[in-house]
C-alpha cells in the first residue's frame, strides 16, 4: 500500500483510455444513435404524411365517384333525349315519305283516270258514229259532223 510510480502509470493509462474512448468509441456510437433518432423521427413524419395523403386520396376518390355518377346520369338523360329525338325524327320522315307516296299515287290515279277518260272519249265518239251510222243506215262523214261529234264528246 505504498504510493509509488504506479500512480504515474495509472494516470498515463487513464489518459490513454480516455483518449481512446474519445477518439474511437464515443463518436461512432453517438453518431449511430443520432442517426437512428433521425430515422425514427423521419419515419413518424412520413407516417403522418402518408395518413394525411390517404385522407386526401379518400376525399378525392369520393369526389371523383360523385362526379362520375353525375356524368353517367347526364349521359343516360342525353341518350334518352336523343332516342326520343331519333324516334320523332323517324316519325316525321316517315310521315313526309308517306305523304309523298300518297301524292304520287293520287297523281298517278288522276293520270289513269284522265287517260281512261280520253280513251273513253275517243271510243265514245267512235261508238256514237257507229251508232248513228247504224241508225241512219249510211256512212256519216266524220269530217262533216266533227263539230257535232266534238260537242258530244265534250259533253261526256
Amino acid at each position: 500500500m505504498n504510493i509509488n510510480a504506479t500512480l504515474l502509470a495509472q494516470t498515463i493509462m487513464f489518459a490513454l483510455f480516455v483518449w481512446f474512448c474519445m477518439a474511437f468509441v464515443w463518436p461512432p456510437i453517438v453518431a449511430a444513435l443520432e442517426q437512428r433518432k433521425k430515422q425514427i423521427a423521419d419515419g413518424l413524419a412520413d407516417a403522418d404524411r402518408a395518413k394525411h395523403d390517404l385522407e386526401l386520396a379518400a376525399k378525392r376518390s369520393a369526389e371523383i365517384l360523385r362526379e362520375a355518377k353525375e356524368k353517367a346520369g347526364e349521359i343516360v338523360n342525353n341518350g334518352e333525349k336523343r332516342a326520343i329525338e331519333i324516334v320523332e325524327d323517324a316519325k316525321a320522315k316517315a310521315k313526309v315519305e308517306g305523304d309523298r307516296i300518297i301524292v304520287g299515287a293520287k297523281a298517278e290515279i288522276d293520270q289513269e283516270v284522265f287517260r281512261a277518260r280520253e280513251q273513253l272519249r275517243t271510243q265514245v265518239s267512235a261508238i256514237a258514229l257507229a251508232g248513228a251510222s247504224k241508225i241512219l243506215g249510211r256512212e256519216i262523214d266524220a269530217n262533216a259532223h266533227s263539230d257535232l261529234l266534238d260537242k258530244l264528246v265534250s259533253e261526256i
Partner: protein, 287 residues
C-alpha cells in the same frame, strides 16, 4: 483461507500486499517478497498487479465497446450492441443532467471512468483466495486482484481528473479569472489570504475526496471479505464451533457480496458523477 502456516495477521497482511516491482536492496531489479522490501523500494516501484489488472480491465471494456462501435448500425440493434447503446445513453443522460457546458471530452471521460472503475471494483466479487492462491502456486508472492483497493490507482485517476479540472478552469475563465476565483471570494479582496486558504482547500479536496472515497470503500469492502474468510479459516476439526463458523462464512460472504454489488456500482457512479460535476464547475463562470 490459504495455508495453515499463516496466522490471521499474516493472512490479512498477505492479502493487502501489492505485487511490487522495483529496485531490491541487493542492487538488482525484481519483485518484492515482503511488505518491508516493497516499502524500501521507495517511489520508483511499480505495483504489477494493480497495473496489469487495470490495464486488462480497461482495455477489455474499451475493446468490447470498440468492436461494437466498428460494426454499429443505426438499424435494429442486436446482442451486445443493445448493451453498449444502453450504457452509452445512460452515461450520456447522466452527463447531460449535471454538465451544462459544451465539451466533447466529458462524455467519453465519464464513460471511461464509470466502466473502468466498475470493472475494477467488480473484481472484488471474485472469491477472495482463488487468484492469490493460484499466483502463489505459480511462484508469485502477492497478487491483489482489485486495483481500486490500491490508492495508486484511485489517486492516479483522481490526479488525471484534477489536471483536466485545472486545465479547463484556466481555459474557460482565463488565468486571471481562475486566480480571482481562488482569491477574491467569499470575502472580497481584503480577505485574500483567508479566501485563498478556503478556496485552496476546496480545490485540493476535490481529487483527494474522489480518490479516497473510492479507495476507502473498496478497501473496507475487501477487508470485510478477508475477515469473513478468516471465519472458515478457524477450522479446527469436526466440532460444532468450527462447523458454525464455516457455515457463517458461506452466508456472510454471500450476503456481503450481494450488498457489495451495490457498492461496486455506486462507487463507480459516484466517481463518474463527481468528475462530471467538477468539470462542470470548471466550465462555469463564477460571479
Amino acid at each position: 483461507m490459504s495455508s495453515e502456516a499463516h496466522t490471521s495477521a499474516e493472512y490479512i497482511k498477505h492479502h493487502l500486499q501489492n505485487l511490487t516491482f522495483g529496485h531490491l536492496p541487493n542492487g538488482t531489479w525484481g519483485v518484492a517478497h515482503s511488505a518491508e522490501q516493497a516499502k524500501e523500494m521507495g517511489f520508483w516501484a511499480l505495483n504489477l498487479d494493480t497495473f496489469f489488472m487495470s490495464l486488462i480491465l480497461g482495455a477489455g471494456f474499451l475493446l468490447l465497446f470498440r468492436s461494437v462501435a466498428k460494426s454499429i448500425t443505426s438499424g435494429t440493434p442486436s446482442g451486445v450492441q443493445n448493451f453498449v447503446e444502453w450504457a452509452l445513453e445512460f452515461i450520456d443522460s447522466s452527463v447531460r443532467g449535471s454538465f451544462s457546458g459544451k465539451n466533447k471530452l466529458v462524455g467519453p471521460l465519464a464513460l471511461t471512468i464509470f466502466f473502468w472503475v466498475f470493472t475494477m471494483n467488480l473484481m472484488d466479487l471474485l472469491p477472495i483466495d482463488y487468484v492469490p492462491l493460484l499466483m502463489t502456486t505459480l511462484g508469485v508472492p502477492f497478487f491483489k486482484i482489485v486495483p481500486s483497493t490500491d490508492p495508486n490507482a484511485t489517486f492516479g485517476m483522481a490526479i488525471g481528473v484534477f489536471i483536466l479540472v485545472l486545465y479547463y478552469s484556466v481555459k474557460m475563465k482565463g488565468l486571471g479569472g481562475f486566480v480571482g476565483e481562488l482569491t477574491l471570494q467569499p470575502f472580497g479582496k481584503w480577505g485574500m489570504p483567508v479566501n485563498l486558504l478556503l478556496e485552496g482547500v476546496n480545490l485540493i479536496a476535490k481529487p483527494i475526496s474522489l480518490a479516497l472515497r473510492l479507495f476507502g470503500n473498496m478497501y473496507a469492502g475487501e477487508m470485510i471479505f478477508i475477515l469473513i474468510a478468516l471465519m472458515g479459516g478457524a477450522w479446527a476439526g469436526m466440532t460444532v464451533g468450527s462447523a458454525t463458523l464455516y457455515g457463517s462464512q458461506i452466508f456472510l460472504s454471500l450476503g456481503w457480496a450481494i450488498f457489495h454489488i451495490l457498492i461496486v456500482t455506486l462507487q463507480a457512479f459516484i466517481f463518474m458523477t463527481l468528475t462530471v460535476v467538477y468539470m462542470d464547475m470548471a466550465h462555469q463562470e463564477h460571479h
